[in-house]
């Protein structure tokens, strides 16, 4: 209860609403939550949330089960159909589509009518005009780089593609690689494609491609790959990246063998853990490529949902409202908690070098739009085939034609169903 009081004192405007929440309806029974926040810091956040919610509702028994984040990705479907709890974690946009289509996620549009400050992320939770979950956190993507090495080489944060390439040449000349990446589990290559395509062709084009409205063999898609190929041909990426997971690629940056990493903000914590100080690492927005193309960003949103088969939907709805409220959002996304961005516009962003930059970028310098991520914006099967093709392209850029034909064939089949 102490943390919520601190939060109340801090956010005077919202204290009224928060108090109303605390005195909300009398909830009884059991609230079963299955969460995928299995890493140490997020786990603590989730446990704290469950505990606080239980204290607010003395007659309610909150049962929390935390499942390994990777395992949950394949096992949510079994849980939803076999033994649905009352609240689960998942992801926004296309990633929730199969469960919405199978009527396994509850329509929570009524919850959205009662909450404020979430307009910017509403689209990602909306399918056919209804909302099927609430967000609890999101995080920016961008280029994390070794500030100390940039200084040593006399480099500035690039703003254009030409500067990016020129910087990379200097880095390569110094005997280092420009970018570390581990593509064993494929999605990291999806991040690169998202940015290159959004910068080359814009956000709307990218989303149209995700919806299957544009052929993979389109010349504009080819231009994206041509830009990518510039970097590949320079030797900008570390060797053998197809062998590494994203974590296994971290040491290259920590040891200074590579200077930058296009990643989500969750990479900051392990970098700090590995001994890099905030003077050594910094962040910049992925530079512009095409002229007059509004900047757009990847900012994946993680979410809470109510399974359609939940038993205590009343308590679950209250929990969803509780999680998105401004002060709770401020609290759980702090640098020492999740270390990510709050979804509620009325929340405060923690004083953290990376969170502040990310928040500024997403709120002021992302006029084109905010994408979820390759594997959340594309339908599941297209995402899997697509990312495999992207990995192949990064290793064998000469195979591009073959890859594009294959993806185009898949596109025609997948979106037809």
């Amino acid at each position: 209860m102490r943390s919520i009081l601190t939060a109340l004192a801090a956010t005077t405007i919202l204290s009224g609403a928060a108090l109303a929440e605390a005195h909300g309806p009398d909830l009884t029974g059991t609230l079963r939550i299955v969460s995928d926040m299995s890493n140490p810091a997020p786990r603590a956040v989730m446990e704290d949330l469950a505990e606080r919610f239980e204290e607010m509702h003395p007659d309610l028994d909150v049962e929390l089960q935390v499942i390994d984040r990777e395992a949950w990705k394949t096992q949510i479907r079994n849980t939803l159909s076999a033994n649905p709890p009352d609240v689960v974690n998942w992801y926004a946009a296309n990633r929730m589509m199969p469960y919405v289509n199978a009527a396994l996620f509850e329509d929570v549009s009524d919850v959205w009518e009662e909450i404020e400050g979430l307009d910017s992320v509403k689209g990602a939770l909306t399918i056919d005009g209804a909302q099927y979950g609430v967000p609890y956190t999101y995080y920016q993507w961008g280029v994390y780089y070794r500030q100390d090495i940039f200084e040593e080489l006399g480099l500035e944060e690039p703003e254009t593609w030409e500067q990016e390439i020129a910087n990379c040449q200097v880095i390569l000349d110094s005997g280092r690689k420009c970018y570390t990446i581990g593509t064993k589990f494929l999605w990291t290559a999806g991040g690169w494609f998202d940015y290159l395509n959004m910068r080359t062709n814009g956000f709307d084009f990218h989303m149209a491609l995700a919806r299957g409205e544009i052929p993979w063999t389109d010349d504009r898609v080819r231009q994206t790959f041509a830009n990518w190929r510039e970097l590949i041909d320079m030797g900008a990426y570390i060797d053998n990246h197809q062998n590494y997971s994203w974590q296994e690629a971290l040491p290259f940056m920590v040891n200074g063998e590579a200077t930058s990493y296009l990643m989500g903000n969750f990479a900051v914590a392990p970098m700090r853990d590995a001994g890099l100080t905030d003077d050594q690492i910094d962040f910049y927005q992925f530079p512009a490529i095409g002229e007059d193309i509004p900047m757009a960003e990847d900012a994946p949103t993680d979410t809470f949902h109510i399974p359609a088969g939940a038993e205590n939907k009343e308590a679950a709805r209250e929990f969803l409202k509780f999680v998105v409220s401004a002060d709770v959002q401020t609290d759980i996304n702090r640098g020492d908690a999740l270390g990510q961005l709050p979804v509620n516009a009325q929340s405060e962003v923690d004083e953290d070098k990376f969170l502040e930059q990310g928040f500024a970028m997403l709120s002021q310098n992302s006029p084109g739009g905010v994408a979820q991520f390759f594997d959340r914006d594309f339908p599941a099967e297209m995402a899997a085939l697509g990312m495999e093709g992207l990995q192949e392209f990064m290793v064998y850029p000469d195979n591009l034609e073959d890859i594009l034909q294959r993806l185009e064939q898949a596109r025609q089949r997948i979106y037809a169903n």
């Binding site: 890493n39 849980t79 076999a82 040491p251 392990p270």
Partner: protein
Amino acid sequence: MFPTPIQKRSPAAQIAYQSMLPLALLLWLLPLLAVMAFSARPDADFTTGNYWGWPSSFEGVANYTLVFTSEMPRYLLNSFLITIPTVIGTIALSCMTGFALGIYRFRGNILIFFMFIAGNFVPFQILMVPVRDLTIDLNLYDTRAGLILFHIAFQTGFCTLFMRNFIRQLPFPLIEAARVEGVAEWRIFVYVVLPLMKPAIAALSVLVFTFIWNDYFWAIVLTQGPDTQPVTAGITSFNSQFRAAYHLMSAGSIVAALPPVAMFFLMQRHFIAGLTLGAVK
């Protein structure tokens, strides 16, 4: 004896053979020795790229302590709680089926026997989708019981083959004598046949224990999370939990391998009998 006993060869050949033995063994177990070496290294060695040089310090105790304070003990416990009931269930069922198929002559005997053998040879992935659905329908998804029931069913095929062949080699007059004395059939099973099957039971227990302990596929299809998953699935979640922590994963792998290895060394005779007896006859 083939090849010619080394004692009958020249002293030079004997010395060559004696010195080749340890060398060959070293080569054979090289990948494993490497992992043992990994498990005693500090984390720092891996980030600085010192994989094979002299370790900067010996962290074996610390690494294994970390392994035992993680989720690992829970996974190990699950492995035991899955493996032991499976062994008991499988042995019980296959003693009965083996007895029925080995002693009695009836229409369909060979058909049922072949059904067990054929089912046992099936690439078990074909069962994946229906068995998962069945387990969900029985409300046993993500429970140890769900995994145990499937394992018992599948292993029964292999064990029936083994038991039936073993029982066929028992002296049949013993059973006939019992029958003449009017002993009920189930008493013949319990008091005459079962005691004679002890070696087969021992061999199969060791074998099934190893198979089930090492199962990975069904563990990831039918269970999730540290509450139910066995250690084989646990090691890989170790993988994501500690980012690329080779030293800890190595230590974890070794811990996970220990029970079947101990089982093997303690029960070696039964183990080898199990591998060869039922099959080779």
